[in-house]
Structure formats: C-alpha cells, structure tokens
Point group: C2
DNA sequence: CTGAAAGCGCTAACAG
DNA sequence: CTGTTAGCGCTTTCAG
C-alpha cells in the first residue's frame, strides 16, 4: 500500500516489529505482546520461545506506540532556561549535576528525560511541551525572575515542578534548598571565625539569592554585628560577570575580611580576584560558597560551602511531579543544607 | 510559613484533542489536521478560524501520535556514558557545553533531545534506545575505551555518531577535534616559550588523549627536543583523581617548566597543585589546557588552552546523524583547533 | 475544498 | 491459554 512506501522509504531495511515476531513464532501479536510484557496468563514455554526469538532478532517493543496505546507518555521534559540577557546557556556545573540527578531519578521510575531548550523570556513555550504531548510533566531548573509566568502556567494546570525558592503567593510546586538557613549557616560560620566585614556576592533579584541574603542578614543580627551595605556586591550567576563585579568592588578599596558568595562558581572566581589583589585566602579573607559542586573540593584553596543534596533534589522533584500528574496536590519542599568546612575559610591547623 | 497544597491536572478533564476542535468548529478532523499543518488545499477562512480556535483552547497537535502516524520519531538520544570506574556522572563542564550545543542544533532541525543515562560498561544498551523506537538516532559523547562495542553497534546498523577520535578500523562515524594538531599546537607554544621540561597530564588509554599526546611528541621532535618519559603523568578526566596524580608527581621532585593537560578541568586543578608547591604560573611553569571551557577564561591565572568549537561540534554531529538516518554514508569529521593564549603560559606584557 | 476511512505499532477486553 | 477486535490521536489517500 502507498502508506507503507511513505513510512519506510527503504523497504528492505524496514525495522522489525511485533507482527514479524508473531508470524515467525506462529502466534498472534497479542500473544507476543503478552510474552514480552511478562503477562501471567501465557504458557511458559510459549513465553520463553517468543522472548528468545525477540532477543535473537534484537527486537524491542516500540515504546512510543505502546505508550500511545496506554495513554501514558512516560516522558518528562527538563528545562534549563537560557539566560535572558546573554542568550547563553548556563554553564554553571551545578546544573550538570542536577541534570545527572534528575536523569537517575527519572530512569529509576522508567521515565524518559526530554531535555528542552527554552528562552528564559519565553517561558510560556514551556506549556507547549505539555500541550503537544511531548511530555506528561515538566521540571524547570531555576525560577530566575519568572515567578509570575510560572504562576500563570500553574493556572493552566500544566503539571510542573520548579527548582528554586518558595515564594509568597506561589501557585506552583517548588523544590529547593533551605536558602535562608543556608545563608545563615554560612554567615554564622564566618562571624564565628571573628570576621566582621563580610561581603555578600550575588544578585538578590533572584529569589534564591534573596533568601540566602536574608540568612546573611539574620546571622549578623543574631551576632549583634551591623552590616555595611557597601559590602553587598550584586553579581549574577555567570562567571565572567561575577568576576567583573568583584574586580570593580576591589577597585573601590572597600575593606573586607569575609565573603559569602551565592554560588560556588562565583565564589571561586571571587577568590581569584582576591588573590590577584594580593590578599590571602583564608588568612586575610575567609570565603564561603554555595552548592558544594564537585570542583569546590578541588580548587585552591578548597572551598568552604553550603551543601545542597543534589541527589535528593532530583528524587524529590520527580516525586512531586508524579503526584501532580496523578492530579494530587504537591506541597513545595525545602531541603536541608549543611556547612562543608574547607580551607577557604579557615587554614588547616 | 504555611505550605499550600496545589494540585494541577483535573483527572476527569481529559486533555483536549483534535476531534474536540473538529466538533467545535463543525468540520472533520481531517480538516483540522490540514488547517493546523498549514496545508495548501484548504480554505483560508476555515484555516484561520480553526487556528484561532485551537490557540484559544491552548490546543497543540499531539506530536507523539503525529510522529507515529508519520513513521518518524524526530527524537535523538544523547548519551554521556557514566564513568566505568567511579560510577559517577561526568562533571566536566565541557559536557554541559556540548549538551547545550546539541540541544541547539537539534532544536534547529526540529528534533527532540532525549537525554539518556547509560553505564559506560553497558554500552550495548545503547542500541535498545534505537530498537525500542525511543530515538531514531543516537549521539554518544565520548568514546572512552569502548571502540569495540561501538563498532559492534555499527555492524547492527544502528544510526549513531560519537564525539571522539577517529581510529583505525573504525566502522562508525565520529566527530572530534583534531587532537593531534591540537596537542602539537599546545606543545609548540610551550617550546616556543623556551620551555624544555614539559609534563603531559592525561590518560593516554583514552583515544582522544592518546592523539593529543602524539601531537605533544611530534612537537618535541620538530623542535629537536628530547622527551623525558618521567614527565608523563597518567591521570583521568576527573578533577579529584587528576589532582591526586599531580600531587603524587610533585612529590617525586621531578623538575618541570611546562605542563600540557588533556583538559581544562584537570589543567586548572594542576595549576592549583603547582601553586601549592610554591611554584608560580606562568613564571616557573607555563600551563596549557584543552577544550576552552568557559571557566578557562576566568580562572587564575586565565588558562591558555586549545579551543574546540563546541557550537560547530553539535551541528556537525547532527548533520552526520541525519545522513546516517537516511541510510547514507557519513564520514568521520575532524574539526580544526586553535590556540587561545592567556596568562597561564606567558605573563601579560 | 472537505469528509470518510484506513491505518502507524501496540494493548486489552472479550470470547473462545 | 490464545486469537479477534477495537481502538490510542493523528494524517492521508480517495472520493465527492
């Protein structure tokens, strides 16, 4: 038939399918289906015979057709929005880690991971992933400045979960680390080391960073130490810009003896700038980062940081999403953080 | 704070589909299909009416069903094999960059990107991605030690492309940078700076690294400089292990005045070790990396490196894969490299 | 120009 | 236990 010719431009190389196995085994496709899906109501001998036949021909059930029939996609879209301003992909290793964690968690639950490229200022396109049946749920890594757009998507009943901060009036489900307490931990550590002029490096326009900053302020308050607003260095998550911001800050000659950065990536870059200005880390300035990416343990000096459990994060997000996809409610989740002390804050012995 | 519970999908509310649009518009699904796919043989007025109806209901054609009918998946699996030994996901930022590049190239060609987790020692599972119709083609990032398994997959006529080195007796299509010439460029640069004891950091069991090492040897030969085998530091691509290897090397007290590392990641870690041993980079030791990841420009000192065009890489791999999927042959491709000089090899001014 | 009908590759009642 | 049948949501002949 004409249709067949179109579907398979090269008929000799047509991919083997269930009906072929059925014909070869002298049974119906229903039986093959049952054998390959491990149904109970089938003769053991038949099952084995069919399974072996399939394996010998490298036949695997076509998952797409199966899922269409089952009405279940088993595909989750994961989105790392592209930076709004620079139009560049995020290059923070933290995201690679998160992606790996999600890949593991999704594989465990037999979901495929569709990696999707979406511009941060077109977050509306996200819903199309769901509407078009490309994915039955969506995971967004980073809420950036898009709280409102995410809320709109929630109103449209698209099942999705966001890695980020929990905000007031939030209609969607978020999973994130306890930013406030993380910021507080980091800052208390620095204050405990006797540091009194602790700079904060990060862009508080981003909700997560804002919360880390709140923790920073809180710790100061608890220690009865006043915060000099001049020590706030607004810098985005990208390495180059953070470095430039840090450089500019140093040019101003504002004194500091501690630094809390909103991510390990920018902390490491900031350390470079400090050293470039003749300062010793940690003797002159103690530095603490956030994330505990793998590189944090291997940079020089090794970076003290706030650890977020990335493995847990992936599993939690998938768990929330599954609830949502079942039509059940899913409350935002806040994951514990811990302080990982290394030599960037306090010299070894 | 009060955790609000939020539920999204309404279980009873079935997802809207083409037949709904058809009914609402008083036409057949065939007409809706034509309208939404921009067919020529349809009344303009009808088309517009249907398109507007669809948009107002947030309806998008179900891509899965469409592709099933069309016999074309439009999905490509991208695989970053998990490290054989450590069972960990790769954390080299280079891979995130490659992933981004592939995401762009695939999106440009209207392909979905399926990110897949496969253990490096079970590369055979890769073929299942194809056999099961999950993807109509596969891109493997890194050939590691699996040349033979990849060759087997090629024999099975699975359409796939590998990011890596071109090897003798290779049955599959690879895309990679010109490792030999990259290694040669890097080393010639160091030799040109008067360096004579240049260490090589990398695991030459990996084909790409082996070729970079060949370039290193070639450059020495061209400059009439003998290579001291003691300067070969076998270290894998992971930061921690590379650092340990470098540390052990320094312990031996072997003198060096130059270092060529097989990746930026390990180059940066090695610089840390050098500095930790009281050496100045670049005064005492000039360092060159490989990849030109974003961090290379921002570390301290900024890293001289061999640049591979990652944007081009993604497009080339997708291009090869499309040929393969059409049953056409695709020759391996070798991409040009260039030397990016920064301050880790030669002090500014 | 539009609709009816026949599938894409698979599964699940429903009957044997 | 196994086959028959009727679709999953869509596209495309083939006839109007």
């Amino acid at each position: 038939m004409v249709l067949k010719r179109m579907a398979f431009p090269d008929p000799d190389k047509r991919k083997i399918q269930m009906s072929d196995i059925a014909r070869l085994a002298g049974v119906s496709t229903a039986t093959v289906s049952r054998a390959l899906n491990g149904s109970e109501l089938i003769n053991d001998e038949t099952r084995v015979r069919i399974q072996e036949l399939a394996r010998s021909l490298n036949y695997s059930i076509n998952v797409r057709a199966k899922n269409l029939r089952l009405g279940d996609d088993r595909t989750i879209a994961v989105v790392i929005p592209r930076d709004q301003a620079s139009k560049q992909h995020v290059s923070d290793p933290f995201f690679l880690g998160m992606l790996g964690s999600l890949a593991d968690a999704l594989t465990d639950q037999q979901y495929d991971l569709l990696l999707s490229r979406v511009d941060a200022d077109h977050l509306g396109d996200l819903a199309a992933l769901y509407d078009s049946g490309r994915a039955s749920g969506i995971i967004v890594i980073g809420q950036w400045r898009h709280h409102d757009q995410l809320n709109e998507m929630a109103l449209r009943r698209v099942p999705f979960v966001v890695w980020g901060a929990q905000l007031a009036g939030q209609l969607y489900c978020s999973v994130g680390s306890d930013n406030r307490s993380g910021g507080q931990l980091a800052t208390a550590h620095l204050l405990g080391l006797g540091r009194r002029r602790i700079a904060f490096l990060g862009d508080t326009d981003l909700p997560e960073v804002a919360q880390r900053h709140e923790g920073y302020l809180l710790a100061h308050q608890q220690h009865g130490v006043a915060v000099d607003p001049a020590l706030h260095i607004p810098a985005p998550f990208t390495a180059g810009e953070a470095q430039a911001a840090m450089q500019a800050f140093m040019q101003h000659g504002v004194k500091l003896d501690g630094l809390f950065a909103a991510s390990d990536l920018i902390a490491m870059n900031a350390m470079g700038v400090l050293v470039g200005h003749g300062l010793d880390v940690p003797r002159d300035v103690s530095v603490v980062g956030y994330d505990d990416i793998e590189a944090a343990a291997h940079c020089h000096p090794p970076l003290t940081t706030i650890r977020q459990s990335i493995e847990l994060a992936g599993a939690e997000m998938v768990d929330c999403l599954r609830l949502l996809m079942q039509g059940k409610p899913a409350a935002p989740r806040v994951l514990a953080t811990s302080l990982q002390i290394r030599q960037s804050s306090i010299a070894a012995r």
